[in-house]
C-alpha cells in the first residue's frame, strides 16, 4: 500500500513550471534615469560565448518603475529574469522621491537579490552600449584596492539612504572610447556633490 502511495506521489512531481533558458531574458545590468518620466536601460544577455558574451541594451520609458519592467517584457517578448542583475547605474537626475519609489519596488519584488553593485553614471546608454561583459564590475573590483573607488552593494545604498538620506557612490563615464572612472559623488538632500576623499558610508 505504501509503495503504491509513493508511486502516486511521484506522479505529482514534474516539469510543468520549467522555463527554457532561451525563453528567459536574463538581465545583467540596469540603468535608471529620469527626465519627466523614468527611463530604464537593461543590458540583456543574448548569447553566451566562452570569450565574449553578446549583450543587448533595451531602453524603455514609463511614468513608474513597475511599468518600465513590464515594457521590457513586451519589447523582448520573453520572461525577464531579474535575479542575475550584477550592476545598477543611477543617473544624477534622480531625486529623493525617485529613490523612494525605486527602493520600494526593489524591496517588494522578491526576484531582486539587491546584492548587486551600484554606481552613478551621467551617460548610462553609452556606458552600457560600449561596455563588455563584466567590464565595469572588474574595473570596480580591481581599483578598489587603490582605495579610490567605492565598492558598495545596492542593499547598503538602501540602508544609507533610509538611515541618513545620503549615500556615496563612484561614477563611470564613457570617454575616449573607453569606460573610465569619473569621480566619487555623494547624494544628499536632492543634491549631488563631488567628494575628494573616499567616504565609505
Amino acid at each position: 500500500m505504501k509503495k503504491i502511495f509513493l508511486l502516486i506521489i511521484l506522479l505529482f512531481t514534474g516539469c510543468t513550471k520549467y522555463s527554457d533558458l532561451n525563453d528567459l531574458a536574463i538581465i545583467k545590468s540596469i540603468g535608471i534615469s529620469r527626465n519627466n518620466e523614468y527611463t530604464l536601460y537593461a543590458e540583456i544577455i543574448e548569447e553566451i560565448d566562452n570569450n565574449d558574451p553578446k549583450m543587448q541594451v533595451i531602453k524603455t520609458k514609463a511614468k513608474d518603475i513597475s511599468t518600465l519592467f513590464k515594457n521590457i517584457k513586451l519589447q523582448v517578448n520573453k520572461e525577464i529574469f531579474l535575479s542575475h542583475i550584477d550592476l545598477i547605474l543611477l543617473d544624477f537626475s534622480l531625486k529623493n522621491d525617485d529613490y523612494n519609489e525605486i527602493i520600494h519596488y526593489f524591496l517588494s519584488n522578491k526576484e531582486f537579490r539587491n546584492d548587486f553593485l551600484c554606481i552613478f553614471s551621467s551617460n548610462i546608454e553609452e556606458v552600457l552600449n560600449n561596455s563588455k561583459y563584466d567590464e565595469i564590475e572588474e574595473l570596480i573590483i580591481t581599483n578598489q584596492e587603490s582605495k579610490n573607488v567605492i565598492n558598495i552593494s545596492f542593499e547598503e545604498v538602501i540602508k544609507n539612504f533610509l538611515d541618513k538620506h545620503a549615500f556615496s557612490l563612484s561614477s563611470v563615464i564613457y570617454k575616449n572610447n573607453t569606460i573610465t572612472f569619473d569621480d566619487n559623488y555623494t547624494f544628499h538632500d536632492n543634491q549631488i556633490e563631488r567628494i575628494d576623499d573616499v567616504e565609505k558610508n
Binding site: L107, K110, R113, D115, E155, I158, K159, L162, D163
Partner: protein
C-alpha cells in the same frame, strides 16, 4: 541522560521555529518580558491537575496553532524558495507529511528529530561560519528602538507557554530553568547576529531577514547563492514544529476520548 538530550533538542528546535515564524521582529525587551511572564504561567499551570477541561483548552490552542503555523510555513516557502508554485500544494504537502509523522507516534517522531538534527546542526554551524565575517558593531547604532515595550510580549508569553506545556504534556518530563534560559539565549543570539549583519533598518524592512543574510554569502567567486540549501535548516525546524503540534492534537484527542495513545 538520553531523555534530557531529547528534551533539550526538542525545545531548541521548536522554540527556534516559533521564534523565526512569528516573533523575529519582536523587540528584545518584549522577548525578555515575555519569557518572564511565560515562566510565571508555566509555574502556575504546571501545578494544575490535568483534567479534561485543561486538555480541551490545549486542544483548541493546538488546532489554532496548527493552522497558523502551516500557513506561515507556506508563506515562507512561497516567498523564498518556490516563488512560482501554488501555495495550496505546498500547504497540503506539508500537512500530509506532518500528519504522517504524527500518525507514526512520539517515538518515531523523536527518532526522526534526532536523525534530522545532525544535518540541522551541521547547516547551523556552516551558516554561522559563513556569515560571521559580515558582522559589524556599527550596525547596532539604532538599537535603542529594541528597548520599547508593547503588548506583543503577552502574545510571545502565550506561545512560549504553550510550547513548553505541550512538551511537558507529551514527554512527561519536568522542565527546568536551564531549558527556558537555553531558548532565550538562542532567541537573543539569532537577533543579535542578524542585526549585526544587516542593521536595524534592513532588519525591519525585510520579511525574512534570516534568509536575506544568507544571500550575502560570497567567497572566492564560487561560494555564493547558497541561501537555498542553507535555508533547509529552517525547513527542518518548521516541519518538526508542525508535526509536533499535530502529534499533540492526536494525543489530546485520544486522551480526551479515553483511548490509550500509541
Amino acid at each position: 541522560m538520553l531523555k534530557k538530550i531529547e528534551i533539550y533538542l526538542l525545545s531548541f528546535i521548536l522554540n527556534e521555529a516559533i521564534y523565526l515564524l512569528f516573533f523575529l521582529k519582536t523587540n528584545i525587551s518584549n522577548l525578555l518580558l515575555g519569557t518572564i511572564i511565560s515562566l510565571i504561567f508555566i509555574f502556575v499551570l504546571s501545578k494544575i491537575k490535568i483534567t479534561k477541561v485543561y486538555e480541551i483548552i490545549l486542544l483548541i490552542l493546538a488546532l489554532a496553532m496548527a493552522i497558523i503555523t502551516l500557513s506561515q510555513i507556506t508563506n515562507f516557502i512561497t516567498y523564498n524558495l518556490l516563488k512560482n508554485y501554488s501555495s495550496v500544494w505546498i500547504y497540503l504537502s506539508f500537512l500530509i507529511l506532518s500528519i504522517y509523522l504524527a500518525y507514526l507516534g512520539y517515538h518515531t517522531f523523536i527518532k526522526s528529530l534526532e536523525l534530522a538534527s545532525y544535518f540541522y546542526l551541521f547547516l547551523k554551524i556552516v551558516t554561522f561560519f559563513l556569515i560571521i565575517f559580515y558582522f559589524k558593531i556599527s550596525n547596532f547604532n539604532n538599537i535603542t528602538n529594541e528597548l520599547h515595550v508593547n503588548q506583543s510580549f503577552l502574545i510571545f508569553a502565550v506561545f512560549n507557554t504553550f510550547i513548553f506545556l505541550a512538551i511537558k504534556y507529551l514527554t512527561n518530563y519536568s522542565l527546568n530553568k536551564k531549558i527556558y534560559s537555553f531558548s532565550l539565549v538562542n532567541f537573543l543570539s539569532i537577533k543579535i547576529l542578524i542585526i549585526g549583519i544587516m542593521g536595524t533598518t534592513l532588519f525591519h524592512l525585510y520579511e525574512y531577514p534570516y534568509v536575506n543574510i544568507l544571500k550575502r554569502i560570497k567567497y572566492l567567486d564560487f561560494i555564493e547563492r547558497m541561501e537555498g540549501i542553507l535555508s533547509f535548516q529552517y525547513l527542518i525546524s518548521f516541519f518538526f514544529l508542525s508535526s509536533f503540534i499535530i502529534l499533540l492534537i492526536k494525543t489530546l484527542i485520544q486522551r480526551i476520548l479515553k483511548r490509550k495513545p500509541s
